[in-house]
Symmetry: C2
Subunit: 267 residues, 2 copies
């Protein structure tokens, strides 16, 4: 472990932290180096507790002692910078003052992730990192066992998803399907009832669909706006809806619907 | 009704639509003129159906026919602009191509809003417009009868809140408390059980708190991060929690928690 003061935002040692709001740059940079960034003391501690290995930490002067109790054991450099350097580097005022860059680990396969699971959420094409983070937080908090992501679902280890999830993306095991078209077969073969959440008025109510909740359930959640694809709706064993009470509102947003469905599935 | 092509973003007739992302400017401008803005065809139609009176509409050329079926009856000018003028005016690419400025109506009083209500949500200091909008959408969609807002809760008629609510802010009746300190007395006097949602481990579970759901319930929801104030927690009849399943997640975000609580209250 070493604590190093850095005075220049262009210093190569800070390269993991550049331009955090430039999402195109970040995606290619993080993929190329196999890293992800966690922001804020609480979330960084959760990543460490979950066993992720840090590449480095970045602390502003004001928060330089924030992680003193764990820094000794990290085996990664700790960079301390002025607020102005931090802002120049990341592209906004870093008011939490704590960032860390971690190594990504190889994702487990779907089989491994669902092997002992009774309740899983399956995210089709949820493309908004905020929504992915919020769904992970609800699913993990309520006791869902795992998540499975379609190929086009947004990355749970993107900074914004991590932040909104409050670190739940570190503790809820997840895997990604290689194959969107046939991807649900594996879950069905393992005895999961495929439960598609939809606002369609002819679907059964969520409470009816879950019943006593025996058995294994995979809750399918579709994209913001468009919902589940016709393919996945067609593959589901049950189409379930959350009953709506008029007032010119025909559906809930996907994070609210996911929270309610996870609550009903795990109660 | 008149449809008017406007070629200059600085034209005074477009003044309601300037710099939509400058939240300080927008707050003072909208308060001064007693207006609010709705964005997107679907949401504008919902505002019209709910009886709000338009000051004007702003359509991009590509969407100029979007509201043709209702424009005749509006009694408000319809401005049509190029994409470039729209972008210069509002400060970003207006991809939906439909905006409308509406007159605000005087808010009803708390007594009026809760008079016939059995289920109300009470938002203490929820300061994020996204969260206010999402909570309105869930509450309205699930069948809550009204909302009551503490003095510092964010404005449901701010553009972002309207958008996230998908127009539910137009259909769920709401009022604002003048008095934070004593504001809950009124609800208690009317026979509402004050149910405070909290992650505190010693609270009863939500399902226990609601029981058979007879009687009148006011669900108290607190600020992002800090939750309900000590004052309001102390005034509650029941403190209720959503059971959490370890995984290093100690609470849900306020919109997920609100969705679950509204679902439980209205089932």
């Amino acid at each position: 472990m070493s604590v190093i003061e850095v005075a220049d935002a262009a210093d190569d040692r800070l390269a993991d932290y550049v331009r955090l709001r430039d999402s195109n740059l970040r995606r290619s940079l993080e993929a190329e180096h196999g890293l992800f960034l966690a922001e804020g003391e609480k979330v960084v501690r959760r990543a460490l507790r979950a066993g992720y290995r840090p590449r480095s930490l970045l602390l502003t002067r004001r928060r330089r002692a924030a992680l003193d109790d764990v820094i000794g054991a990290l085996g990664a450099p700790v960079y301390v910078v002025d607020d102005a350097v931090a802002e120049q580097l990341v592209g906004f005022h870093l008011h939490r003052g704590v960032l860390a860059s971690f190594h990504r680990e190889p994702l487990p396969g779907v089989d491994e992730v669902v092997a002992d699971a009774r309740r899983v959420v399956v995210l089709e094409d949820i493309v908004d990192h905020t929504n992915v983070g919020a769904i992970f937080r609800s699913a993990a908090g309520l006791g869902v066992d795992a998540a499975v992501l379609a190929p086009r679902c947004a990355d749970p280890l993107y900074r914004r998803a991590i932040k909104v999830s409050m670190g739940a993306v570190f503790t809820l095991p997840y895997a990604r399907l290689d194959d969107w078209y046939g991807g649900l077969d594996d879950l069905r073969r393992r005895g999961f009832t495929l439960l598609a959440l939809t606002p369609a008025p002819d679907a059964v109510t969520l409470a009816e669909a879950v019943g006593e909740g025996e058995g294994r359930y995979a809750l399918l959640l579709g994209a913001e706006g468009d919902g589940l694809s016709t393919r996945w709706l067609g593959q589901a064993d049950v189409r379930a809806r959350i009953p709506m009470a008029a007032r010119d509102v025909d559906s809930l947003n996907v994070t609210a619907a996911a929270a309610i469905a996870c609550y009903e599935l795990t109660r």
